[in-house]
């Protein structure tokens, strides 16, 4: 290892740092400001550069890789347009706390501020959407800055970090030494959780008659799934998960109530509404979860475990906050408990709601439906696949019908709701995950937002399974138009303009299959899962105007949950 002092160029230092950080993949796109780095890259052996087709794709790939593996995703782009193209991906990573480091080229330091060719103030642009960002002004600061960037991205509540690299910094030379520690007096990310608070929480949970665990993505980020399982199983506690929490607890377990919130299950939402102790674990009381805040879990004593103090009392005022790493707090909590809770009545009530209003869809009219396809995918993969979605109805159906058994298996854009996330994120995940199938479930609208990345998948022979749920509509928007906007279907019908996805895929060099009836689903899926020489795409032509139920309209309370389409007769 070259750790002792020697003179290296900024570009060499860059790669040495990535080597020390054990970076396996860099998702990138070349350009003027980073040409020196690409010159060096030509001979670099210790990592693989993945050429994307659009820098937004690179950012989402890094996210997919990071979410699926827990490692830091790395992006390399040029200045100006290269950098601005990553903005949506960075914002997405910020909202969903995904650890990525974006390296952007920049014009030489003496040109900064001159409106130089391909100059953009990317540090200014990304300030509100990064956990932190840096402009490296001196090659002597390069190594320590990169070290800090990886440290900040991956610790505490993870998030994106951008490092802006002016051209002259990359070209100049200095002595290289990679620091083995980072000292930042303003950043101390490890919290263990206050002992007394944890003890108090345990006492309250023990005395609960109607407890509920409300689990978010924080449990997965802290690798706390084992602790969660033990805690929930040993104490007989019901578990509901947020969109980002799915997979933290097995979806097939009888103690799982599935997802809560706007498109959550009836029984999970009823449980929230009626519980007497709500334990929030690495979740942030997002408005898609709470609906109308004033009516959210009003009967509950609320315990909130989160590593980010700003999440506490932000949307919902809680009774007992515990700032700490969820994995650690869960282990401590479990140690304070002694016997399973005697809460048969509560379970009976929950199971009553489960029976009262199960997830359902029409199965007998011979039409092809998204829910059916997703159930089939769940069966075929036994809940073991890494499932990536885009944004829309198909995303919510996936959350409802795919039974996730493992953490880091449900990759979706939750906070920002970024259409176009799915395809590149699935590609990124497929670079990181080799022992399980990686499946994309996308809408026809969102698929077209980063469709160019098909080339990346084909070139790298990635065995990703790309499933398009083609309802010929911007379905989720259409649903809102039907429910809340007077059935004015303004610009959501894609049936006249959608391409033939099979032909498009074939043109990119994919294997592609079209399916338009339920009877063909099994065979097509089998064929897709058996094919591992490269990406395969199935276009499922589903019914056009289905809706996702249940739905609690935005800002409404659980009581206003809609569980099925109103019969036209009931409407008049």
């Amino acid at each position: 290892m070259r750790t002792t002092k020697q003179k290296l160029s900024g570009a060499d230092i860059f790669f040495e740092c990535l080597r020390q950080e054990k970076v396996e993949y860099v998702f990138g796109y070349p350009g003027g400001a980073v040409l020196k780095i690409y010159e060096k890259l030509y001979d670099v052996k210790h990592l693989k550069h993945i050429l994307v087709r659009h820098e937004q794709g690179a950012a989402h790939m890094a996210e997919g890789y990071a979410k699926a593996t827990g490692k830091v995703g790395v992006v390399l782009v040029t200045s100006g347009p290269g950098a601005t193209n990553t903005v949506t991906g960075i914002a997405d990573a910020y909202m969903d706390s995904v650890p990525i480091v974006v390296f952007s080229g920049q014009v030489a330091t003496h040109l900064i501020g001159n409106d130089a060719f391909q100059e953009a103030d990317i540090v200014g642009i990304t300030r509100p959407i990064t956990k932190h960002n840096f402009l490296v002004r001196d090659v002597n600061e390069l190594a320590s800055t990169i070290k800090k960037a990886f440290f900040i991205a991956s610790t505490g509540r993870p998030g994106p970090v951008l490092v802006d690299l002016p051209k002259d910094v990359i070209n100049s030379v200095c002595e290289f030494e990679y620091p083995d520690k980072v000292e930042m007096r303003g950043y101390k990310p490890t919290f263990l959780g206050h002992q007394n608070q944890i003890k108090k929480a345990a006492e309250i949970i023990k005395s609960a008659k109607r407890p509920l665990l409300y689990v978010g993505g924080g449990v997965i980020m802290s690798n706390g799934e084992r602790e969660l399982r033990l805690f929930a199983k040993e104490n007989n506690l019901p578990v509901t998960m947020t969109l980002q929490g799915l997979g933290a607890f097995p979806g097939t377990d009888s103690q799982s109530l599935g997802m809560l919130g706007m498109h959550g299950t009836y029984w999970a939402n009823q449980a929230v509404n009626n519980c007497d102790v709500l334990v929030s674990l690495g979740a942030r009381f997002d408005d898609r979860v709470t609906g109308k805040v004033d009516t959210f879990a009003t009967k509950a004593y609320k315990i909130h475990v989160d590593i980010d103090p700003t999440c506490i009392d932000k949307n919902v005022i809680v009774d007992l906050p515990i700032v700490g790493d969820v994995k650690h707090v869960l282990a401590e909590l479990a140690a304070e408990m002694n016997e399973p809770l005697q809460i048969d009545d509560w379970w009976e009530q929950i199971n009553g709601w489960r029976e009262e209003c199960p997830l359902h869809y029409e199965k007998n009219d011979g039409k092809l439906r998204s829910e059916f396809i997703i159930e089939k995918i769940s069966e075929k993969t036994k809940g073991e696949a890494v499932v990536v979605t885009d944004v829309g109805q198909h995303q919510m159906w996936t959350a409802q019908y795919y039974k996730f058994n493992n953490p880091r298996s449900h990759l979706t854009s939750g906070g920002l709701g970024t259409m176009g996330f799915g395809l590149p994120a699935a590609i990124g995940a497929a670079f990181g995950v080799k022992d399980r199938p990686v499946v994309l479930i996308s809408g026809d609208g969102g698929f077209q937002m980063n469709i160019q990345e098909l080339a990346t998948a084909v070139y790298n022979k990635l065995p990703v399974k790309l499933f398009i749920i083609n309802n010929s509509f911007l379905g989720m928007v259409r649903q809102w138009q039907e429910l809340f906007h007077d059935e004015k279907y303004s610009f959501t019908d894609l049936s006249e303009s959608n391409p033939d996805f099979v032909k498009v895929a074939q043109a990119f060099g994919l294997k592609a299959i079209a399916v338009n009836s339920p009877s063909k689903v099994d065979d097509a899926l089998d064929e897709a899962f058996a094919y591992n020489d490269g990406p395969v795409l199935i276009e499922f032509k589903v019914v056009k105007e289905d809706m996702v139920f249940p739905i609690i309209p935005a800002g409404k309370s659980v009581n206003e949950i809609m569980t099925k389409r109103l019969d036209p007769k009931e409407m008049v």
């Binding site: 540090v123 200014g124 300030r127 509100p128 956990k131 932190h132 402009l135 002004r137 900040i152 930042m184 007096r185 303003g186 950043y187 980010d308 103090p309 700003t310 506490i312 009392d313 932000k314 005022i317």
Partner: protein
Amino acid sequence: MKHTISVLVENQFGAFNRVATMFSGKGFNIHSISIGETENPEVSRMTIVTEGEDKIMEQVVKQLNRLIDTIKVIDLTGQTRVERELALITVFYQKGTRAEVISICDIFRGNVVDINNKTITLEITGPPDKIDAVVNVLEPYGIKEMARSGTVALKRGEQLKYDKNSVTQ
């Protein structure tokens, strides 16, 4: 309620911007903000006067703490503290009012720092409410221009009880 928050930040490119960006991004109010070096040249102190409900103020402090460049955040509200602001105020005078303006300045222990045949510029320091009072009194004369520094504040040193035994002879 108004809060005075003292923030120690790394004396580094962009640190001020980060704080300002956070305030605007989160929709928090800023009454005044001032920044300058401290006894340690690597550290700057920002003094922010902001206003909002207690819950919001808690969020402000947490969000400030969350920024990587902030070293320490102290909400000085409710603590014994010294607060000062500097104002430069240029006031019109007429023949008979020059002496009046100067005497107002004297009452508030200000200094006259500039004068020409129409206007007179005063330098006033003090707690922000004193500056408000000066402005109020000067307004009838016609204020041509004003620059206020924003509040700077420090916690008061601990008041040690007088102990005659410990007095060294």
